[in-house]
């Protein structure tokens, strides 16, 4: 339980457990009585360290809710969530905020960047908030990896959608979080820009040992992952390792058909 105060020194690698985050019997329900809707229904899941995990499922399956709960953005109704050895369920807002700031990275579908800050300032924002100095060599390596060295002084409005998302990826990587969560990070991009961003995510796992969890509904995006989890009606119903886009698509069709007949 010492890891709650230990800053990760190497992007997700090191002598820690093989599980970066886990959920135990997590229930997330909205409303009560007749209007009660269960978004997550006793979910158990382990996120492997240094791996790229995709979460898929039809709309309303609870995939985004699961990610939000794992990332400490949302509270659970019951059950526990651990980040490494730290239980985050039940943490007060202040501690949770600090945990997100120091140990988790985020890439959202849109609105990742502050328009008033230039690309570099956006990348170092979490560290600025924490009052930490960025690790220069690491920062340079991240910037180089995502290919933004030429555009660091540009404002978000001067960048293309793909470039903006690459800045967001760089921001998530720069603070060396234990885990990065992506919520449809390529949802707003055309296929070429999307492929570019996914390529960077893949490389950050392979080259930098980063742990990434990504929610998506795009089979092509999911095919970049090491492992795909399928959610339906708030439960994990299936998983797939080393998937290809075709396999993912087929499985999805399968679910759709089952969903219609059941």
């Amino acid at each position: 339980m010492t890891s709650a105060v230990t800053l990760p020194k190497h992007g997700g690698t090191g002598g820690r457990t093989a599980v970066a985050a886990r959920a135990r019997q997590v229930v997330k329900a909205y409303g009560s009585g007749e209007t009660r809707v269960v978004a997550l229904d006793h979910v158990d899941v382990d996120i492997a360290r240094g791996r790229f995990t995709a979460i898929m499922g039809p709309s309303g399956s609870g995939k985004s809710t699961l990610m939000h709960c794992l990332a400490g953005l949302d509270t659970v109704t019951s059950g526990q969530i651990y980040l490494d050895e730290t239980e985050i369920t039940g943490l007060k807002d202040k501690k949770l905020t600090r945990l997100r700031r120091d140990r988790i990275g985020f890439i959202f579908q849109a609105f990742n960047l502050l328009p008033t800050l230039n690309a570099l300032e956006n990348i170092t924002l979490p560290m600025d908030i924490a009052g930490r100095k960025p690790d220069r060599p690491w920062l340079e390596r991240v910037v180089e990896t995502v290919g933004l060295a030429e555009r660091l002084k540009h404002r978000p409005t001067q960048l293309s959608g793909g470039q903006q998302q690459r800045v967001a990826v760089a921001r998530a990587l720069a603070a060396r979080p234990e885990i990065i969560f992506g919520d449809e990070p390529t949802g707003n991009l055309d296929s070429r820009a999307g492929a570019e961003v996914l390529g960077f995510l893949r490389r950050s796992v392979d080259d930098l040992g980063q742990t990434i969890v990504m929610v998506t509904h795009d089979p092509v995006a999911a095919s970049y992952a090491d492992r795909v989890l399928y959610l339906a009606d708030g439960r994990i119903v299936d998983e797939m390792h080393q998937p290809t886009a075709e396999q993912v698509l087929d499985r999805m069709k399968d679910f759709d058909a089952r969903g219609r007949t059941s």
Binding site: R100, N112, T116, L125, P126, D128
Partner: protein
């Protein structure tokens, strides 16, 4: 119809923001209505009172004021001879007539020499007890005064000062001091207008007030049955000839009304001042609100246009929203105004002013004004945003990009602003080189131009000024940095918000600078021109009896003294200031720079100030003939020309030469020099020599400057009342802007929260933004205020040699602090809201 429906829906959808703007409009409406309700109520009750107290026809001296008492140049009320009473009695149609005497030019004290005057500023009236008084007052204890030993007092004054039958009362007037014992107490049967009343018998009143028998201030006639007041007036006028003023009861009442209005006008104008500032700032607030609403609904309006709404319809829908807002604000404002009217009456009551009770009067005019003001102001302010809304193209509906604020070039705006500001500065600077009153109009014009110019330029100014705050904000880390950037993100909005604060602070700073500098100048003037140790004058500003000068002259320890004797005179058909002084000692008591000749006042040799000399072309050695008040002519020779100032000017003539032309001398002041200089002992000796009379004040230079200071403080405090109003409305403006900013940036805030900015950080960010905007407005306002204060001072300084700019640094620091407090207060609610934002919804919301 659809337009109306969408307007109504939009209006209701933005209740919160509408409420903020409505408060600004509401405040202005409320102040206007409050003023109207209050003055209407007061005049209606006073109307009744005057109608009750005035006799059918009143005859008074030609130069008496219409409303009642006045003081002529001899310090006494103007009178009519007793023969008038006899003549009026002989007029056909007169049932009865009696002579009345009233004077307000006096001081009344109790046995301990404490003043019995009303503290509310109401008059102190001493008169004879007449049948006319008996109609509105009732003797509740004791009896009406008879003989010189007796005096009657009104019940309210008796209550207030704990006076009882047999207590000693002193009446001090130019004639002298008269003491009598209370013989009776009379209570009003109608509402007391707030005066302190004392009654003597007729003979005593004549001696005490006028100093001669057989005169009255008024003759009150009552008409016989069947004779109208107008007819009676005609007959009385015919009998007396045109030498007297004859008024019917109604005319007297109207005249009395006018006096009351004068008395209330200060309050009225102060209130309308509040309303004016609330208006001005309210307009900014409304423009801002509607601009934001339009920006926020860009896509929605685009959709309306795409599915076929015309520009006119879009424009109209915005104006209808403004109309709704105006109507709501006017209704609530009217109700609040009635409350303010009632509150004012109660407030005046607590200041010991007896305020007539009676129903509140809300005239149709008041209601109409409320609606005109509320609705017109709102619609006028919404007109510009409405036009902007109409220009939104249909394609805006399809635009998936979050419709941010237009980043239209500021080039045109800046050019225009620079032109206005430049012209304003040029005109103001030109005006400062002009002489006194000539410069007033250009200066006011320049000031308006400059304020408009700066207002247009505020978006441009916001960047460098806010950037200057960066070093301080850096101290607050990331929230500070983000706050600074957010503050300059929408320069127009920041500018409009800061301008609301700027206007109030400009006014206040300007006033403070001028008042402080003026006070300093007058202080110095008094200090440099007065060599006397003490100046003796009447505490209530009335004339001094010449006895005072005589007494002082003979007192122990007085080495030199001179009265400043008021002697109106005419030269060439024009009134000139003529002051009688003791020629042998005036040189020791005053110290004026002599421009030409010698400061010599003896016999018919006089000194005159350079201004008056210049007006009449007098030089040293010039001879001229003066006409005195009694018609006597006197040839005088100019011995010297001195440099006059605002406190002393005109001709100084030796008392001995003046005496034959002034049967009834009265003094403004007496200047005294004592052997050991000013000291507590010397002052005590003088006070004792004058009979320890509270009506007479003995002041050294320091007392005079303290008195001046308290006068300026009073004026400034009234101005600061205005500040409170402006600040209140400005707070609403800042709240409005911040609420909008938080709303627009909810996604960003959600993202910041997600990546690790805690609630405290979000709050700090919003608060600092607010602080930055407010301080920006504060700095602009204080800067402009100092400039205007300096410029106005240059104008005043052209006439006042001792004037120099005094910058009230302490006060200015307080004003800036106040701007900061505004910022912090205004941010309370928006910051809380930002911190409570649900980050998941915020990120997802589009």
């Amino acid at each position: 119809m659809t337009v109306l429906k969408t307007s109504l829906r939009n209006f209701l959808a933005h209740k919160g923001r509408m409420a903020l703007s409505a408060v600004a409009v509401l405040l202005s409406v409320a102040f206007v209505c409050g003023t109207l309700v209050f003055t209407d109520t007061m005049s209606t009750t006073f109307d009744k009172l005057f109608a009750a107290t005035a006799s059918d026809v009143t005859v008074s001296a030609k130069d008496a004021s219409d409303g009642g008492e006045t003081t002529s140049d001899n310090g006494k009320p103007p009178v009519v001879p007793a023969s008038v009473l006899a003549d009026v009695r002989d007029v056909e149609g007169v049932e009865s007539a009696e002579g009345a005497l009233h004077s307000t030019s006096l001081t009344v004290v109790d046995g301990d020499k404490e003043s019995l005057s009303p503290t509310s500023g109401g008059p102190t009236i001493v008169g004879n007890w007449t049948a006319n008084d008996a109609r509105t007052m009732e003797i509740t204890s004791g009896a009406a005064p008879e003989g010189p030993e007796q005096i009657m007092v009104d019940a309210d004054t008796a209550d207030k000062h704990g006076l009882e039958l047999g207590d000693e009362i002193g009446v001090i007037s130019v004639v002298g001091t008269h003491t009598a014992k209370i013989s009776g107490i009379a209570d009003w049967s109608v509402t007391n207008p707030g005066a302190a009343l004392f009654f003597l018998d007729t003979k005593t009143a004549q001696q005490v007030l006028i100093g001669e028998s057989g005169v009255f201030t008024n003759v009150n006639a009552t008409a016989a049955d069947g004779v109208s007041d107008a007819q009676l007036k005609k007959d009385v006028t015919a009998a007396l000839g045109g030498d007297y003023k004859v008024l019917t009861a109604q005319e007297s009442a109207e005249a009395g009304q006018k006096d009351v209005e004068g008395f209330m006008s200060v309050m009225k104008y102060a209130m309308l001042g509040f309303a004016g500032i609330a208006f001005l700032v309210g307009i900014f607030l409304i423009i801002n609100t509607f601009s934001m609403l339009v920006a926020q609904r860009t896509r929605e309006i685009g959709l309306m246009r795409a599915i076929g709404s015309s520009r006119k319809q879009v424009n109209r829908s915005v104006l209808i929203e403004a109309l709704l807002l105006g109507v709501v604000a006017a209704v609530v404002g009217l109700l609040t105004g009635v409350g303010i009217g009632a509150g004012l009456r109660a407030l005046m009551g607590t200041f010991e002013a007896t305020v007539p009770a009676g129903p509140l009067v809300v005239t149709p005019g008041t209601v109409a004004t409320a609606f005109a003001v509320g609705v017109l102001i709102t619609m006028l302010a919404a007109w510009l945003p409405g036009r902007r809304a109409a220009k939104i193209p249909p394609v805006a509906a399809m635009n998936s990009v979050h419709a941010g604020a237009t980043t239209k070039s500021l080039v045109l705006r800046n050019t225009l602003g620079a032109l206005f500001s430049g012209a304003g500065v040029a005109v103001v600077l030109a005006a400062t080189t002009m002489d006194g009153s000539d410069g007033q109009v250009p200066m006011a014009l320049g000031a308006v131009l400059l304020i408009i110019g700066v207002f247009i330029l505020t978006p441009l100014l916001s960047r460098p000024l806010i950037a200057a705050a960066a070093p301080v904000l850096r101290f607050f880390g990331t929230p500070g940095k983000l706050a600074r950037q957010n503050a300059v993100r929408n320069p127009r909005r920041t500018a409009a918000t800061a301008s609301a604060l700027m206007i109030g602070l400009t006014l206040i700073t300007g006033m403070t600078v001028v008042a402080g500098s003026l006070q300093n100048a007058i202080d110095k003037m008094a200090a440099s021109a007065i060599r006397a140790d003490y100046v003796v004058s009447m505490a209530n500003g009335n004339w001094l009896s010449p006895d005072v000068a005589r007494t002082l002259e003979r007192s122990d320890g007085v080495t030199a003294s001179s009265p400043l004797r008021n002697a109106p005179a005419r030269f060439d058909g024009q009134t000139v200031f003529l002051t009688g002084v003791d020629g042998s000692s005036i040189g020791e008591l005053t110290d004026f720079p002599v421009r030409d000749g010698a400061f010599e006042v003896a016999g018919t040799r006089i000194v005159v100030d350079h201004g008056t000399a210049g007006d009449h072309g007098w030089k040293v050695g010039s001879d001229f003939t003066l006409t005195h008040e009694n018609g006597g002519k006197q040839e005088l020779t100019v011995a010297g020309i001195y440099e006059g100032n605002e406190m002393f000017r005109g001709i100084m003539l030796d008392l001995a030469a003046l005496a034959p032309h002034q049967p009834d001398p009265i003094d403004m002041q007496v200047m005294v020099k004592t052997s050991g200089g000013a000291s507590d002992a010397a002052k005590d000796r003088l006070v004792e020599a004058l009979g320890t009379n509270p009506a007479i004040k003995v002041q050294d230079k320091k007392d005079i400057s303290n008195e001046l200071a308290s006068m300026f403080t009073l004026i400034l405090n009234m101005v600061y009342g205005l500040l409170a109003m402006a600040v209140l409305v400005a707070v609403l403006g800042v709240v409005n802007t911040l609420a909008m900013s938080v709303f627009e940036r909810s996604q960003e805030i959600g993202m910041l929260r997600a990546i690790g900015l805690d609630r405290g950080g979000v709050k700090r960010m919003v608060r600092l933004e607010s602080l930055v905007i407010s301080l920006f407005g504060g700095v602009l306002g204080i800067g402009l205020g100092v400039f205007f204060g300096w410029a106005a001072g240059e104008l005043v300084g052209s006439r006042m040699a001792t004037y120099e700019l005094v910058l009230p640094w302490g006060r200015m620091a307080v004003f800036l602090l106040l701007a900061g407090v505004v910022g912090v207060l205004a941010a309370l609610w928006p910051a809380r809201r930002a911190a409570r934002l649900n980050m998941l919804q915020a990120i997802k919301a589009e």
